[in-house]
């Protein structure tokens, strides 16, 4: 029996009714009077010099109210491309018109004169001297040139076990590599602990391989949208579909050189984000510029096609990985070299390459990572940014080692997992985390220990770790004369966080969950709150809410002590009323009565304030097991069972937590088996749901989720961020299951049917 009455219970979410009745207001549902429709004019080439932009024909179209280019950006900060475009879909201009169809027609009438340039889309091509340079001049001494460490030639894949033609081509290219320099490098990151050479020398088994992970889109269901309204005084209001209204406010201010206080950002209900909804320029800045120019509200809404060509998806990467272990199952060394496809700008999460270390004791570790420019849009976060890619490589290779030393993959992982007090590679010591508990829980739930598999069936296991972020937040809570409580804050609800905050407040104020309501303010009114990403919200805003409720609790006892003429220490708040503890004559006063009384006191109404920014977070583990069946004729992989466990610290709302586990796992499944943004010389070639397939309910069985609770010391009630961990292991879970089913290791995602058929063929099957 839980010691709590509201937290830890499944409750209907605070937004339940508005979301099932269509009443919730998303960005595109905002329609101020006189609103114009904006449309962004985009590059039709992946790499080209711009000779001229001619808007004259478009201006003639009735209904067109404004056309803007970079010349209309007073700050000079880059919003539109001017002399050169680096990817298909890069913004060049924007139109505002009285009707969306007119805006689209006007955009098509704008004539752009291009001088088409050579294109590079493959990271392993882009680093070569022969590649076109995206930034700087075309000489080899441009700004994105890096000396290399030489190890690119010493790390090679395991040719006996890797049958990917694509990788063979890359390897052949690298072997012929004539220079000691990488080109088109956007960023680099290097980490070293111990001595990997010594570790490999002492190992009985060494496995090397190259893993290729595609670029995928977050594919939130609501395309980006903003509605901007600039009034005659210069005040700007922006209704934005974003994970971080305060970041959008400062981003717009910085980009356009407008004072912060002149911009009010109203976050609209968010139709999914997954890390991809933080961009400032994307639709928000063009909407503001168009509104400033026309003096009318303007909505800029992306189509799904625009999302694919000019969204900020998750970076693909190539990871060369080498692991050494002893015959009795101890991992001694691991070395990684990664090339992340950053697209036209830097920003790929290359630092996440370190996650190849997993949650294991690896005494010798070396990681070198590079971000590489290609002719694609830039990238952004996607649910545990960088972790699914690195963990796919790490966990795939662990299974290869386990197989070679003849050890069960679960036992091999359990044996190498870090334990409380172990040294952490980054410094410090390992806190108590339910690594083993979570893996054991999924193994038990899935029936791993007595698993059976028919022909062409296989089982796969993998684990992934992630630590929630944390950031600044502010919460107010007011208690009203009817005993209800109202929460006011500024962070976007990310599918259940407002509910968790409400549960926490109800718990501390000892009132029914139903009597607590929550309101999110805009950036003009709400206390500063961090963006809703990095699994921060429950941790940060939960802690903030707790502080606010505790502050209100103090005031409540203070008022009760005045009213009941008793020392505060003798009072207890329980069931929505303050009681005198162990009084001979029991006396109590309700919260409503206290709230009414407070209005005529010197100290004033009951308003609790919570403000919080930083506490150490605790890692969380997700462990998953899949059972699959591969049809050797068609290459199709069918999931028979998918079980996902996660150490969530403490589940504030168990049903919502299960929802996060299930959703994240299916996104991981999709990355492993289906999704891939494909590029040719003309840019992205699959910008729609027919060619970029995401899973539907027909693709998968029920995902079984298993909640493990090992409390985080600084989390509210021990809670950890739950959103990101579940996507981290699934890529490897699926690849390991396919390997078990067909006996062939596929190292290049996604594992589409044709890839399976090719792998079987090249193995003579």
């Amino acid at each position: 029996m839980s010691e709590y009455t509201v937290v830890g219970q499944t409750v209907a979410r605070v937004d339940a009714v508005e979301k099932v009745t269509g009443a919730a207001q998303y960005g595109a549902d905002i329609h101020p009077p006189g609103m114009l429709y904006g449309k962004i004019v985009r590059s039709k080439h992946a790499h080209a010099n711009i000779r001229s932009i001619d808007t004259s024909e478009a201006e003639k179209l009735p209904g067109v109210r404004a056309i803007i280019t970079q010349d209309d950006v007073p700050s000079g900060r880059r919003v539109f491309a001017t002399d050169k475009v680096l990817y298909l879909g890069e913004p060049l201009a924007a139109v505002a018109a009285t009707d969306p169809d007119i805006a689209e027609e006007a955009a098509e009438r704008i004539k752009i004169d291009y001088e088409v340039l050579p294109v590079v889309q493959d990271v392993m091509e882009a680093i070569k001297p022969s590649a076109p340079r995206l930034h700087g001049d075309d000489t080899k001494d441009g700004p994105n040139r890096r000396e290399i460490s030489g190890q690119i030639r010493t790390l090679s894949r395991d040719k006996e076990n890797d049958h990917s033609d694509e990788i063979s081509k890359l390897e052949a290219g690298l072997e012929a590599y004539p220079d000691e320099v990488y080109y088109n490098i956007s960023a680099e990151s290097h980490t070293e602990a111990g001595d990997v050479e010594k570790g490999f020398a002492e190992s009985d088994v060494v496995v090397e391989d190259t893993y290729v992970i595609p670029r995928v889109h977050q594919t939130y269901m609501e395309p980006h949208v903003s509605v901007a309204s600039a009034d005659s005084s210069g005040k700007i209001t922006v209704w934005a579909s974003t994970q971080g209204p305060f970041a959008i406010r400062s981003g717009i201010a910085g980009t356009l050189g407008i004072p912060l206080t002149q911009i009010n950002v109203i976050g609209t209900t968010m139709g999914g984000g997954f890390g991809g909804r933080f961009g400032v320029i994307i639709t928000h800045v063009p909407a503001v510029l168009l509104s400033q120019k026309t003096g009318r509200p303007v909505r800029v809404q992306m189509t799904r096609e625009e999302e694919f060509t000019d969204g900020r998806p998750a970076p693909g990467c190539v990871i060369k990985l080498k692991t050494g272990a002893t015959n009795d199952g101890r991992i001694l060394a691991r070395e990684a070299l990664a090339f992340w496809d950053s697209g036209s700008v830097s920003g790929a999460s290359i630092g996440s390459t370190i996650r190849v270390r997993g949650v294991y004791k690896i005494p010798n570790l070396k990681v070198d990572a590079y971000g590489v420019h290609t002719n694609k849009s830039g990238t952004a976060a996607y649910r545990a940014p960088g972790a699914p890619q690195a963990i796919f490589a790490g966990e795939s290779q662990l299974d290869e080692i386990a197989e070679r030393i003849g050890m069960d993959p679960v036992k091999f992982r359990l044996m190498n997992m870090r334990e409380e007090g172990d040294e952490v590679p980054a410094g410090g010591s390992e806190p108590k985390v339910g690594y083993k508990e979570t893996l054991e829980a999924v193994a038990d739930a899935a029936g791993w220990w007595d698993r059976e598999a028919d022909e062409n069936q296989g089982w796969g296991v993998a684990v992934g770790d992630w630590t929630n972020g944390c950031g600044p937040g502010g919460v107010y809570v007011s208690v009203h004369e009817d005993g209800s409580a109202r929460i006011f804050h500024g962070s976007m609800d990310i599918t259940g966080t407002d509910t968790a905050i409400s549960q926490i407040i109800a718990e501390i104020l000892t009132v029914p969950y139903e009597s607590v309501t929550i309101r999110r303010g805009d950036t003009d009114s709400a206390p500063y709150s961090t963006g809703s990403g990095g699994s921060v919200v429950t941790f940060t805003m939960g802690n903030t809410a707790k502080l606010a409720a505790e502050d209100a609790h103090r005031r409540i006892l203070e008022l009760a002590s005045e009213r009941l003429n008793t020392n505060v220490d003798d009072l207890e708040l329980k069931d929505g009323a303050v009681h005198i503890i162990s009084a001979e004559q029991p006396k109590s006063i309700s919260l409503g009565e206290l709230a009414a009384y407070s209005l005529s006191t010197t100290g004033g109404p009951i308003v609790g304030k919570g403000s919080f920014a930083r506490q150490a977070s605790t890692p969380a583990l997700a462990a998953q097991i899949a059972k699959v069946e591969v049809d050797p004729g068609t290459g199709r992989t069918r999931v028979l069972k998918l079980v996902a466990s996660q150490d969530v610290g403490f589940a504030i709302n168990p049903m919502a937590v299960e929802g996060q586990i299930e959703g994240g796992t299916v996104q991981g499944y999709a990355w492993a088996m289906m999704e891939e943004m494909q590029y040719g010389d003309e840019g992205n070639i699959n910008p729609g749901f027919v060619d970029y397939r995401v899973p539907t309910s027909a693709d998968l069985p029920t995902v079984e989720s298993v909640i493990v609770e090992v409390p985080a010391p600084n989390g509210p009630y021990g809670a950890k961020g739950v959103g990101e961990p579940p996507i981290t292991p699934t890529l490897a879970t699926m690849a390991n299951a396919v390997k078990d089913a067909i006996g062939i290791r596929i190292t290049e995602l996604p594992i589409k049917p044709e890839k399976v058929v090719d792998a079987l063929k090249s193995n003579g099957r």
Binding site: V17, K19, T21, G663, S697
Partner: protein
């Protein structure tokens, strides 16, 4: 562009409108009539977010020109609850946690309602395939299927 007269019965209300022939039913519902509960997720008929019920059948309203819907009975998500009571499908989505961000939810609820009205006796596997035209990116579908099966059961037993 010349506008044509169109009569639409939307959630039992009659609307006599003048509409450009190029406008989709989705655009008219959202921009002209102001019923924004129906969502635009792809504009190509692939995601199901814009699903409404036209003469008893679930259709993706982004693929229907509004002029072709003249004279037809249209039900949108706003027309589902009656007398302040949620429809059993709506209630089931709440009870099972069958929604997260909520953007695909109106489409899923309308598609589910049409399927259940047509045949509430479908198996889970049949519902999984029948709902294959609707994309949800948050839930992984487990709790959506739970909701649909629960609603179907309730409608079956109370019918």
């Amino acid at each position: 562009m010349a506008k044509l007269p169109v009569s639409l019965t939307i959630n039992s209300d009659e609307h006599d409108l003048l509409i450009e022939p190029r406008k989709t039913l989705l655009a008219v519902l959202r921009d002209t009539v102001g019923l924004t509960g129906t969502k635009e997720g792809c504009s190509t008929g692939d995601c199901g977010a814009c699903t409404v019920i036209v003469d008893g059948k679930a259709v993706t309203s982004c693929m229907v020109l509004a002029v072709t819907a003249s004279g037809k009975e249209i039900t949108t998500i706003e027309g589902l609850a009656s007398d302040g009571e949620l429809h059993p499908v709506q209630q089931a989505f709440i009870n099972t946690g069958g929604y997260q961000c909520g953007f695909c939810t109106p489409g899923f609820i309308m598609a589910s309602k049409a399927l259940i009205d047509e045949n509430p006796d479908r198996t889970e596997e049949e519902f999984r395939h029948a709902l294959g035209g609707n994309i949800c990116r948050c839930t992984g579908y487990t709790k959506i299927l739970e909701a649909v099966l629960k609603a179907a059961e309730e409608i079956r037993t109370t019918a």
